[in-house]
């Protein structure tokens, strides 16, 4: 893979997973399958941690697939990567894509009212994680997901 995330370079810890996928809806199930497989190889990752991590990762991946690309972007050009590392205090995920900059402010994200049919994705990811970051790095959107053991 030619493009790597900055967070990945800085992070210590063992890589649990690295995926490079077409940024389309099928990426959700492909990533989910790969994560399920990765947990089998990493029994040291606790159930509660991986549950929260997968919940958040699927919301961010869904957001990328749905919103990151202009309608006229050539499907072949749409790529995303997911990297997961085991760090001292839990899991560190990096999701990056070559889509348009995300127009959002994570400090503004709130859980919508109970009869809303959409708009819970980022709020759910924030609730599941200990830290969620977004930045634009060298023409890519880079999401950082940190999940530490609780309790």
């Amino acid at each position: 893979m030619s493009e790597r995330s900055h967070q990945g370079d800085e992070a210590d810890g063992a890589r649990v997973l690295l995926l490079d996928l077409a940024a389309e809806p099928s990426a959700l199930d492909d990533a989910h399958d790969a994560l399920d497989q990765a947990w089998e190889e990493h029994p040291e990752v606790g159930d509660a941690e991986r549950l929260r991590f997968v919940m958040a990762a699927m919301e961010i991946l869904g957001n990328v697939v749905e919103h990151a690309y202009a309608a006229d972007e050539e499907p072949r050009r749409r790529r995303l990567t997911l990297e997961v590392r085991r760090v001292d205090d839990g899991l560190l995920g990096t999701i990056s894509d070559n889509g348009q900059p995300a127009a959002l402010d994570l400090s503004d994200v709130t859980m919508p009212g109970e009869d809303a049919e959409s708009g819970r994705g980022l709020a759910l990811a924030l609730a599941a994680l200990d830290e969620l970051g977004y930045e634009r790095v060298e023409g890519r959107n880079v999401w950082t997901l940190r999940c530490a053991p609780r309790g």
Partner: protein
């Protein structure tokens, strides 16, 4: 595509999604629930015992179904969520409007 079983007994439809209710499957569930309600069954139980994962779009599909059922004079109830699915209801505070029921048979008793 996931498998979604639908059966109707004594005026109550039971909808059973198998597998992951993610963004892709949520569209399917939304259509299934609409079809059931438009078909004239306004009381629906979504049995989540076989649902291994639920994301915000799956939740949106359930809320869409809940609103449609109520507009049609009925209701939508959920039953038997797995721990992974239950945690999504709790984190989004949806357990207040969609209170998980312990079983399918008694989901409409109270």
């Amino acid at each position: 595509m996931i498998d979604i079983d639908v059966s109707t007994d004594r005026g109550i439809a039971v909808v059973v999604p198998h597998g992951r209710l993610n963004m892709v499957a949520a569209r399917q569930l939304r259509e299934t629930l609409n079809g059931v309600i438009e078909g004239g069954t306004n009381r629906v139980v979504v049995d989540l015992a076989e649902t291994t994962f639920l994301d915000s779009s799956g939740l949106g599909a359930l809320i869409s179904g809940l609103k449609s059922a109520r507009q049609a004079g009925g209701d939508l109830r959920i039953a038997r969520p797995t721990p992974a699915v239950l945690s999504v209801f709790e984190l989004t505070n949806i357990d207040k409007v969609l209170r998980p029921r312990a079983d399918v048979e008694s989901a409409f008793d109270v």
